[in-house]
């Protein structure tokens, strides 16, 4: 059922919705088919234009929504139609989905532009300039898939985008599939890509079960139908809705990197940095948050599910934040920070603070993209410095052997060599740490304020996580940009070109001012998104600015930053010195450093047993037992015994053969005597014929 037919007055661009998907697809196909003949600028230009045009479409849709705030569904084509199952390709345009479209295409476009500069250098450092085109093909494909995800009007179309972005993530994590993150020949990147895909598949399994249950409960998987009858089903069959929402949580955990499926995200940093920024920080990983917000009409009906989601989010936020403290790789820190921030969002949408969650999603997209891209800029700067140093000193043999341009222990003092990047990074870090008045402060604070009212346990978890956040960001800033360079590469680092820094500046501006989207009292975003929720009958918790919470969290952040200064800023790290925190925390720090051995645990508990089981099934059960023993030995062997021994020797040789041989021997003896008749002379034969004639004639006469 279409919620509302397209209205007849006012600026209306809803019909453009399918182009959200087609424009990036056209960009992708253009680059795929004729990109070989184009230069890097053209390829990057086409891809960025496609992404930019998508953003324009999203803006036009948003403008249309001002006139028709209740949103609409734009049908495109039928998809699967069997009996009650009526699925179609249709686009859901309302304030919630359009918010996501704007974020995805907006941040996406900036990252496209940045990537033109970044990939130009990256493909050269890794000696494969031909791969430049491939990157933009994937990137456009990703935008298309993400648009399908956020604009689908039913859960299955959302699932198409859901898995589509998973595929792009797989392709982009494995972009440098023949090496590890340091450029050495290895399967490490490929393994990381596979890990991401499989972990996501586990989540997708949950999603799939949710959809299956949903269909048989609601007889539809379309948003409008499901939400319309949600209340009624909740009364008759509350267990079903609980099952759906919990299954969906598994999907969320996979895509948005929550406990227990978050493990793939840190490894995903194997992808080029723009990918980390776009897919693994700003857009794709927030799909889970979007899903929960989208499904709000169901979640609000089952408080148990809400509590579970919030708890998972809170725990993830804290857990990942602790790990981030113990990391040395600049991107790994950001990765765990992303997991942690996703935990904030999931916790927010879980406990019903949907606007706060979406708000944090948006601001996080700005500042985390900024951080990742700046980190990319840092890494490339160090890489440039490394090349520079290697050429100067003339020892090219150890070049690119074990040098890790992303390791913060190799950096230091880069405030001077890369000033622009430093300032940009600082803005991002402060936004993330939640310092007033940057974007992160407003959004994080709104979540915390809501949490005090809705779920105090989660508030405690999130507050501690926020403290850790400020601490590890402080640690990172001190380690990377202050002190003295601990490696000559850092000393010779060079600033990045404008094609990279200008998008960064835009993002920095957004990180600075993004809070304005939903200032307390004004609440632009809340009123904007509210309309969608109201359409589906979800009453939003009225957000209140809580001064106590704001002061508490700011103080916590400042204390954390001060602590990090004490440890890393006051007395900068020197080359080879162990982390000062190790002295203080001891084994706890070792745990953080080793990510609490969760990967190892999964290997021991799930993967190795599965591999062993698979081998056992394949080699022992299927091959040795079933194939070789049962078929070849038992069946074929029995048959052979039967035919060779039982039948051949006993029945055949001693029974039938004896008879047959006797018969044969008699015949032979008889033949031996009769053969004399065959003289071989033709005239003899003629004679016998002649005799026959005479005898027969004689018989006829005498008759």
């Amino acid at each position: 059922m279409i919620l509302s037919e397209i209205a007849t007055s006012g600026p209306n661009f809803f019909y453009l919705a399918p182009w959200l998907v087609f424009i990036p697809l056209i960009g992708m196909l253009t680059n795929l088919l004729i990109g070989k003949r184009l230069g890097e600028k053209a390829i990057g230009g086409i891809a960025s234009t496609a992404s930019g045009l998508t953003f324009v479409v999203a803006v036009l849709l948003a403008l249309s929504l001002r006139a028709y705030p209740e949103g609409t569904t734009v049908p495109f084509a039928d998809w699967i139609t069997i009996g009650e199952l009526q699925l179609r390709w249709a686009f859901r345009v309302d304030t919630l989905s359009t918010t996501m479209m704007l974020v995805v295409s907006g941040v996406g476009t900036l990252i496209h532009i940045y990537a033109i500069g970044y990939m130009h250098e990256d493909v050269r450092y890794k000696n494969d300039p031909g791969r430049f085109r491939r990157f933009f093909v994937y990137l456009n494909l990703f935008i298309a898939a993400m648009m399908i995800l956020v604009s689908g009007d039913n859960y299955l179309m959302l699932f198409v985008g859901w898995e589509g972005v998973g595929l792009c993530s797989f392709l982009l994590i494995g972009f440098w599939y023949e090496m590890d993150t340091l450029g050495r020949p290895s399967t490490a990147n490929a393994m990381a890509a596979k890990k991401a895909f499989v972990a996501n598949r586990v989540g997708d399994f949950g999603f799939l079960l949710a959809v299956l249950t949903m269909f048989w409960v609601f007889k539809s998987v379309q948003f409008t139908d499901v939400f319309a009858s949600a209340q009624q089903i909740a009364e008759s069959n509350p267990g079903a809705i609980l099952a759906i929402t919990l299954f969906m949580l598994l999907g969320v955990a996979g895509k948005s990197a929550q406990i227990p499926l978050y493990v793939w995200l840190p490894d995903a940093m194997a992808g080029p940095t723009p990918v980390s920024a776009l897919i693994h920080a700003a857009t794709m990983v927030t799909a889970g948050v979007y899903l929960v917000a989208r499904t709000a009409p169901l979640y609000v009906l089952v408080p148990q599910a809400q509590a579970t989601v919030a708890l998972v989010g809170g725990l993830t936020a804290l857990f990942a934040a602790t790990i981030a403290v113990g990391q040395y790789d600049i991107k790994k820190v950001l990765a765990y920070s992303t997991i942690s921030q996703l935990g904030f969002m999931v916790a927010a949408v879980g406990m019903g603070a949907f606007v706060a969650g979406m708000f944090h999603l948006i601001t996080h997209a700005f500042f985390k993209a900024l951080l990742f891209l700046s980190a990319g800029s840092v890494i490339l700067g160090v890489e440039r410095g490394h090349h520079h140093a290697a050429h100067h000193d003339g020892h090219e043999d150890d070049h690119a052997e074990t040098f890790d341009p992303g390791d913060m222990r190799n950096m230091g003092g880069m405030r001077k060599t890369m000033p622009v990047t430093f300032w940009l990074y600082l803005i991002g870090a402060l936004a993330l740490a939640g310092i007033f008045p940057l974007a992160g402060f407003w959004s994080k604070d709104e979540i915390l304020a809501e949490a005090t009212a809705l779920n105090f346990t989660v508030y405690i978890l999130l507050a501690i996580a926020a403290f850790f956040t400020a601490f590890y960001m402080g640690r990172q800033i001190w380690m990377v940009f202050f002190g003295k360079p601990r490696h000559e590469a850092a000393a010779h680092a060079e600033e990045s070109p404008p094609v990279m820094t200008i998008p960064l500046m835009v993002l920095a501006a957004l990180s600075l001012l993004g809070g304005a989207l939903n200032l307390p009292g004004v609440e632009t975003l809340a009123h904007w998104i509210e309309r969608t929720f109201e359409t589906f009958g979800v009453k939003l918790h009225p957000a209140e600015f809580n001064l106590n919470v704001a002061i508490t969290s700011t103080v916590l952040a400042l204390v954390a930053i001060f602590l990090s200064w004490l440890l890393y800023g006051r007395k900068p790290l020197t080359d080879g010195q162990p982390d000062p925190l190790k002295r203080i925390l001891g084994p706890l720090f070792t745990g953080m450093e080793n990510k609490w051995w969760i990967d190892e645990l999964y290997w021991a508990v799930i993967l190795n047993p599965y591999i062993a089981l698979a081998r056992f099934f394949a080699d022992v059960i299927d091959w040795r037992f079933w194939h070789d023993w049962f078929h070849d030995t038992v069946i074929a062997g029995t048959y052979q015994w039967l035919s060779k021994t039982a039948l051949n020797v006993w029945a055949d040789q001693r029974g039938i053969d004896a008879f047959a041989n006797g018969l044969g021997n008699t015949t032979k003896a008889l033949a031996q005597r009769l053969r004399g008749l065959q003289t071989g002379f033709v005239r003899n034969y003629a004679l016998s014929v002649f005799i026959g004639v005479i005898v027969i004639l004689g018989y006829l006469i005498l008759q």
Binding site: N684, L687, F690, V693, L697, G698, I701
Partner: protein
């Protein structure tokens, strides 16, 4: 003695003499020539019996084509005479005995069963004419007639293949 009987006896005599000549000639060429003579006499018998068309066929096919073929082959192989051989000497007297036996039997039959040998009276002028034979051949015996054409074709192909020399050998 009617002239017809005289003619018959004369020709019969010639015919038997020619047959015996074929049988006893040492040289195969002579045998062939004797056989031709025999065929010609038989053809005349056909004429006497009203078989105009058959008589002509006899002359053309037998005396003409077939016997020429025999002569060709005899000349080609150079096998007019054979060397001495005593392999089946015992068969000769036995064969003559049996031949006499056969003649005896046939004679007995001719003598004892005259009813099957009654001569027919006058026949119409057209009896045995090519027209009549043709009508019969192309109406009642059309299928056998066509079959004979295939038989001849097959025989021709068979003869060619049998006598063809393998190229690789010689």
């Amino acid at each position: 003695m009617t002239p017809e009987l005289i003619t018959f006896l004369t020709l019969a005599l010639i015919s038997i003499a020619a047959a015996l000549g074929m049988l006893f000639s040492r040289n195969a060429v002579y045998s062939a020539l004797f056989l031709i003579a025999n065929f010609i006499t038989v053809a005349i018998f056909y004429l006497m019996l009203g078989g105009t068309f058959i008589a002509l066929s006899q002359i053309a096919v037998y005396a003409g084509a077939i016997m020429v073929l025999f002569l060709f082959v005899i000349m080609l192989l150079g096998a007019e005479k054979l060397g001495q051989s005593q392999t089946l000497a015992w068969q000769r007297p036995l064969a003559i005995l049996l031949g006499l036996g056969l003649l005896g039997e046939l004679g007995y039959m001719l003598a004892t069963r005259p009813e099957m040998l009654t001569g027919g009276g006058a026949t119409p002028e057209s009896f045995g004419s090519p027209l009549e034979i043709g009508r019969l051949l192309f109406r009642e015996y059309l299928l056998p007639f066509e079959v004979t054409s295939i038989l001849l074709l097959v025989a021709m192909i068979g003869a060619i293949i049998l006598t063809r020399r393998e190229k690789t050998r010689v």
